[in-house]
């Protein structure tokens, strides 16, 4: 018996270099193109490619002063903000209904709410385009907002729903028992419990909306969002200015996603 046990080697003894190099390969495949893009944005060369010729911040300066890009950034921010607000508010209400009430067709509603996240953007885009033209609505940034709500809502709903489901009913009952009216129960007990999930849901919805292209292509009017503008420029005049903008977008998205994860984790730890 003892001999047999000593023959079993601990996992650490497996060849670590194999694991490390394989991991590097996978991560390299995933992230190297992004690193190249970041490098190009600092490259002192007017074409969108390597080799590296020296460090400059010119492309960032140009991007900052570009009126079209400024306009597009503003459009993107306002679309993302509106879509986030709508999606989060609707998601919160839907999650609340599904968690705290019993009603006919609840499971179907839950599935229907999650479905849009599985739909390819191109399907959502075409469907909504057809729908809006049937309604004789002019395409504009407002229609883009509605398109973004379609995939923002499931994200918000899912995040808030899974948190709200963990909420112990006895806490709401205790608050009511001690004299709190339903609205106070929500403000004093339920909201503190789900706040972090709501914020994290909003940040996710914002990020998704901010760099969305496919649905936006179908639903936008004359105004361009930032990803659309970048896409448009790539086809005509390719400059490192684009790389600079992309790097900034990457940075902002990264910060937001990390922040949303951090807030969600902190909320779970507290609850």
């Amino acid at each position: 018996m003892i001999a047999m046990i000593t023959e079993i080697k601990p996992r650490q003894a497996a060849k670590p270099w194999l694991l490390i190099s394989w991991s590097l390969l996978v991560f390299g495949f995933l992230y190297l193109p992004i690193l190249v893009l970041v490098a190009i944005s600092f490259n002192d060369s007017p074409i969108l490619s390597l080799p590296f010729r020296g460090v400059t911040l010119d492309w960032y300066l140009q991007a900052w002063q570009d009126k079209t890009l400024q306009r597009a950034l503003w459009n993107s921010l306002s679309v993302a903000a509106s879509a986030t607000l709508l999606a989060t508010a609707l998601g919160l209400l839907a999650a609340f209904a599904c968690c705290r009430y019993r009603f006919w067709g609840k499971n179907s509603l839950r599935i229907a709410l999650n479905l849009p996240i599985l739909l390819p953007g191109i399907v959502t885009g075409i469907a909504m385009l057809a729908y809006f033209s049937d309604l004789n609505w002019d395409l504009s940034l407002q229609t883009v907002v509605l398109g973004h709500v379609v995939f923002g809502l499931p994200v918000a709903f899912g995040t808030i729903y899974s948190r709200l489901r963990q909420f112990p009913d006895s806490l709401a009952e205790a608050a009511a028992d001690l004299g709190a009216a339903p609205i106070q129960v929500f403000a004093d007990v339920i909201w503190p419990y789900i706040r972090s999930a709501v914020i994290s849901a909003a940040l996710l919805a914002f990020t998704l909306s901010f760099d969305e292209v496919v649905v936006t292509i179908f639903l936008t009017g004359r105004d361009n969002t930032l990803p659309m503008e970048i896409w448009g420029r790539l086809r005509t005049r390719i400059t490192p200015e684009i790389a600079a903008v992309a790097t900034l977008v990457l940075l902002a998205s990264g910060v937001i996603v990390l922040a949303s994860q951090w807030i969600a984790n902190r909320g779970e730890a507290e609850g």
Binding site: E173, A175, D177, D188, G271
Partner: protein, 382 residues
């Protein structure tokens, strides 16, 4: 039914159905209860007996399907919990995790919009009263079970409700501190003179704490009475079995005055205190183990004239039976003895010793031999 004048909480034929995969099932059926002001009232029953649902109906967390809930003479059947002047100590305490101890206790006062100076004073007094001074800044997660329980009690009492509802408040505590907290609860109730409605599945707890106990089973109230009434004169076989240990003998009534029951081929005299049976009726008799006296029989010693006379006199109020000791269990201080008799196996609780296989004489007072009322065969279902 009439609302008795000094009743504070009154349930009038209350029923509650629950939706289950098997269809609608009654959780509480036609329950009528009447809790007086200042009373320590327990709802006792096993799980599924409807005791917690009954408490939730009083608290307003459930609305009955039929019947009325009265609180202080006012019909509160449709009132939501926050409009009822009673507070609850929940089984898991339900302390707000994001608030510290002082904020938890202050919550009902904050809701009532009391001036913050008064809130501060009253919270401090409560912390002191429940011996948790110094824990005010802590979060509930940082407290022991016993401390959490005190915070829950303080929070429920600080708003000075008319009635305190307690849902198995001791079940989450270690056995050792449970007894300690039990004493404190009883003292607290006496000091404050508040009405406590206490849900428990622990019959010992209910007997030790309560002024009155309602024993529940399958959504119905089987019996309401003082702990002594319930123990000595159970209203049904279920109550007799649920509360404490008991020996049961079944037989037919041979004679009604004095009440004599033929158990197998032995006439046993019984007390008709709780229930007056008819001639020839089949009844169940209950004898508590501590009411059985045992003595080693001495077959060779012939009774003297005086002894015989005493025995004859005693026989009017005492039953006798012989048996053999077949087992014993030491339960600290007392000994539980199993005795094989002509009427089956009986259990006696005695101080002292009993040697295995010894022949013994069993005696018990006629007054300690209670007739259990038969189950009511036809109860109207709600």
């Amino acid at each position: 039914m009439m609302d008795s004048p000094d009743s504070l909480v009154y349930l009038d034929g209350v029923s509650k159905l629950y939706a289950t995969p098997q269809g609608l099932l009654p959780a509480v059926r036609q329950v009528t209860l009447d809790v007086r002001a200042g009373e320590f009232y327990s709802l006792l029953g096993s799980s599924g007996s409807g005791k917690t649902t009954t408490l939730r109906l009083i608290g307003g967390f459930e609305i009955p399907d039929s019947g009325r809930v009265m609180l202080g003479g006012e019909d509160v059947t449709q009132l939501p919990p926050h409009r009822r002047n009673l507070h609850t100590v929940f089984q898991n305490y339900a302390l707000f995790p994001h608030l510290n101890v002082a904020q938890n206790i202050a919550y009902p006062l904050k809701i009532a919009q009391l001036p913050s100076a008064e809130i501060k004073l009253r919270v401090e007094a409560a912390l002191e009263m429940f011996r948790i001074t110094g824990l005010g800044e802590r979060r509930p997660a940082q407290l022991s079970g016993g401390q959490q329980q005190r915070v829950a009690l303080a929070r429920a009492l600080i708003g000075r409700p008319k009635v305190l509802l307690l849902d198995e408040p001791l079940s989450a505590l270690d056995a050792k501190i449970r007894e300690e907290v039990r004493q404190e609860l009883r003292e607290l109730q006496r000091q404050t003179n508040l009405t406590f409605i206490y849900v428990t599945h622990d019959q010992e707890e209910a007997l030790a704490l309560s002024d009155r106990v309602a024993v529940m089973q399958q959504g119905r109230v089987e019996q309401v009475g003082s702990p002594r009434e319930i123990y000595d004169c159970p209203a049904s076989l279920f109550v007799a079995q649920f509360i404490g240990k008991a020996n049961f003998l079944t037989g037919r009534v041979l004679q009604t005055d004095p009440l004599t029951v033929m158990v197998q081929n032995l006439p046993i005299r019984a007390s008709a205190m709780g229930y007056q049976p008819q001639l020839d009726e089949t009844v169940t008799l209950m004898i508590r183990p501590e009411q059985l006296q045992i003595a080693e029989s001495q077959p060779d010693a012939a009774p003297t004239a005086v002894q015989a006379a005493t025995q004859a006199a005693a026989q009017l109020s005492v039953n006798q039976l012989s048996g053999r000791v077949i087992g014993d269990t030491y339960v600290g201080q007392l000994l539980q003895v199993q005795i094989e008799t002509a009427l089956g196996r009986l259990t006696a609780t005695v101080l002292g010793k009993a040697s295995l296989s010894s022949e013994v004489n069993l005696t018990w007072l006629v007054s300690a031999c209670t007739v259990i009322p038969p189950a009511l065969a036809t109860m109207p279902s709600p």
